[in-house]
Symmetry: D2
Subunit: 147 residues, 4 copies
Amino acid sequence: MPHRKTAAEPDVLPFHEARLRVRYAETDQMGVVYYSNYLVWMEVGRVEYCKAVGFNYRDMERDDHVVLAVAECHCRYLYPARFEDEVIIRTSVQEATTRTITFGYEMRRAGDDRVLAKGYSKHVLCGTNLRPTRLPQKYHALFGVVR
Amino acid sequence: MPHRKTAAEPDVLPFHEARLRVRYAETDQMGVVYYSNYLVWMEVGRVEYCKAVGFNYRDMERDDHVVLAVAECHCRYLYPARFEDEVIIRTSVQEATTRTITFGYEMRRAGDDRVLAKGYSKHVLCGTNLRPTRLPQKYHALFGVVR
Amino acid sequence: MPHRKTAAEPDVLPFHEARLRVRYAETDQMGVVYYSNYLVWMEVGRVEYCKAVGFNYRDMERDDHVVLAVAECHCRYLYPARFEDEVIIRTSVQEATTRTITFGYEMRRAGDDRVLAKGYSKHVLCGTNLRPTRLPQKYHALFGVVR
Amino acid sequence: MPHRKTAAEPDVLPFHEARLRVRYAETDQMGVVYYSNYLVWMEVGRVEYCKAVGFNYRDMERDDHVVLAVAECHCRYLYPARFEDEVIIRTSVQEATTRTITFGYEMRRAGDDRVLAKGYSKHVLCGTNLRPTRLPQKYHALFGVVR
């Protein structure tokens, strides 16, 4: 499992917090959020992380023709989220090279700060043909890329 | 609301029946299937309808560069589907021109034939740029196109 | 199709506007939002509408043991929403009795106000056993119930 | 990460294979299946696994009032699944006690047997109040429970 990068890079955003409200559609008959939806929330978290460091993920796909294809994902479910809960997704970059980026996530319930889930997703930089490529130079500093 | 085509075209498939099993993911905290999932099932129904009349929808998109963009959708929910129910989706073509195709759906629960939902979806033929176009000639007979 | 209520009830909220950002998960391989997701957005719209008129839909389910089971849904798709679009969902009550409530929706793209979709959903008041019941008295004025 | 149980229990089903067809709804604008949907397929796999060993997961929830709450999930994405691919989900029990059950999954594309993804999900036996409980005795042999 990837660990938080220890390299001395003071200019990388330590984390960004996104917020969302649990939708009825996201619940299941157990009365709590269905487990795959946490991965959708991770996506919300990393898209907002990109905005917070200064670019729009949509534009990176469209203008630079690179995508962050998911190679691996892990989630530990600690406490069930429910309809109408406000969820705070704390997203950080755990590791970044020119080839791969790993995001870490901690999801908490607003109000009482109860930790709902923790996880990470590892991504491979790919062209729009889904073949591996390198992260364009201009994004290196934003992700704190270690070569 | 579109009505069943009355034109005398004996070669058009009257309907096709697809079957699926309700997934846990498709339920919500009311204990029944969340209402937007019936539209996903309609898609399953029309994709199988296309196969039944002799072509693969995927290939039409890929090889002929046309898509069936949804212009309108309607669904009446008559009885709730539940986890593990086997659902039969009866799909028919209600109306077809070179510009638009309307599919009709009736969803029943296998076993007791209880009607779960009825609806239709109207589609506009578009190029992959999502601009309106015409249905390629080779599909006319398959959908019973009335010019 | 239900029409906007014309009764003279000055205390009913004419509409409420909710906002959301299109998620990557909501797109499909056509490059636009998959059509069933607009129904999820309608849910977001009506949940926020309830808050705007003064109650939480979650509490109504939990404390009053009534649910708004969907009986019918209709959507016209006018212009495709895309990843990262900000969507404004204007929700209103088109008709309300002690037995049924019909919500109307108009979805626009923030920025240029382009209308993306219009639709309505008709709901039947049910107990948690999903059998029809009546809307509790305390909600009548909030929805502008016409007996 | 859990490993395959090595105990000598010849009566436990080594694996079960479920099949499904990729839905258009499951794709995203990258042209491939969105990553959270593989977790839905894992659910399809384990529900069918339960049937293959002799019981219906729905009935276990309903009649024995126990649920398999997800505590952890992991997935490695090896090759992208696409619309219309037929996917084979091979499900096995990696570890089972009276308190937790871990399922392992391997997903392959029918036809060329290309491995699409591998993963596992760890579940905690809970009552319908979502508090931990023990697996009822009658299911022990079916899952090959090691006390």
